[in-house]
Assembly symmetry: C2
Homo-oligomer: 257 residues x 2
């Protein structure tokens, strides 16, 4: 295996007692008591953190009443039947619009993520007039949390993931995906490995980090106020290049052309 | 919640000692000793089975040397630079071609799944000249396995899922998804639920079954010969409508138009 994950048994649990985050909070210190109360961390653990709590601590919250939509946002808002102030924020987060239709705006964010509304979210933020954007540098945010928690596991390894829930083409329902990574790879790359029948595997790169994010969502729930989960039982090779290795380049994507 | 899953802690392990499947095998009986050796089953367990072992038992294996490609398959094969016999099999499994390019053929299967090569797979089948198709009725296959295993858990509940690994637009790496379901829903539907701040959640339907499938892949590995995993710790409301509830209708899909 070039990089990637192995496991015989995987466990995941939600970390209880995580409070609300506010601008300037030192999340690493703030979450440590809750992590310890949930049984602490061990080497090879992966801590999965919902982006929203990170975004709030980093001040990525915009009161809509302060937004003055420009001409592009007003025109696009009319086309997709959305609040022009929300569309202004979305465009500010985006490199390009991938699809726009009634009630739907799919863009490519400055990180290279393709998702609805550039990941800008009105729910769960303390009122309908405030929106939360994705962290500016989710890998960097994950790395800061990892540095804060690494002493809990000695020398590690320790993985930290920041996640968000994305819709997707072809299939109903959102799934949690990895938008920031530190200390662990995003992909399991089995290319070139020969299967038990001597046949070389072809399309055998797996988005293991996204599967780990999905697992975390199963225990986080959507409204239970559980923004942190711990995943135990995985081992991995390689460090990867951060969450960007999970992003397909536009030129290689049949559905962005 | 209208339907869906809740959990505080989730565990998943691979079932060891599952042999190869062959045409006509009674998978339910055949896998029971391995399930019991792996600790047995309890109510609320979910057994996840890779489609390939089901397809083999159901005879969904085609020797390529027996395939005579027609004119449509030959023309499309030239366009995507693939084996015309393979393309003939793919077209036979498909309602329509969604995207075709060099080395890539994305179709909508007769089930309504959108995936590369209609889920037809050449690897792991005992030689490069044989291809495996998806089960004809994966929900039905899951229901048969569930009936065979339900006595192990008394009255249940018991979930059985058949899975496959699909690529996806925008993101690198395949992820495991649910293609057949029995005894459990595919989606967690939180629409209409009010979050702790009094804001009604909007895009809050989650593809929990796909997240469970992804979890199972983490312990199955790609070449370890572990086609079965058990997931424990989830509870669910509702039975759902089978795996088709995870499939977006073409008319509602911005990326199939």
């Amino acid at each position: 295996m070039i990089s990637g994950f192995t496991a015989d048994r995987v466990e995941c649990w939600a970390v209880e007692g995580v409070g609300e985050a506010h601008l300037g909070d030192d999340l690493g210190s703030m979450l440590r008591p809750a992590l310890e109360a949930a049984g602490g961390l061990r080497p090879w653990d992966i801590v999965v953190v919902t982006h929203k709590i990170v975004s709030k601590a980093e001040g990525r919250v915009v009161p809509l009443e302060e937004v003055r939509p420009g001409a592009e946002a007003r025109a696009l808002a009319a086309r997709v039947q959305a609040d022009p102030r929300l569309v202004e924020v979305i465009l500010g987060e985006s490199r390009r619009v991938v699809r726009a239709g009634p009630g739907v705006l799919v863009t490519e964010t400055r990180h290279g993520l393709v998702c609805a509304n550039a990941g800008v979210d009105r729910s769960n933020v303390g009122g309908g007039e405030v929106v939360t954007c994705l962290p500016v540098d989710p890998d960097g945010s994950a790395a800061r949390l990892r540095r804060a928690w690494l002493p809990l596991v000695g020398a590690g390894p320790l993985g930290v993931m920041i996640c968000d829930t994305f819709g997707r083409p072809f299939r109903e329902g959102g799934v949690n995906v990895a938008v920031g990574l530190a200390g662990l790879p995003g992909l399991s790359d089995h290319r070139g490995i020969v299967d038990p029948h001597g046949y070389t595997l072809r399309a055998s790169t797996l988005a293991s980090a996204d599967e780990i994010a999905g697992l975390a969502e199963l225990v986080m729930g959507k409204v239970a106020g559980r923004p942190v989960a711990v995943v135990r039982g995985l081992r991995w090779h390689g460090q990867g290049r951060g969450a960007s290795e999970l992003q397909r380049e536009a030129g290689r994507d049949l559905f962005r052309q």
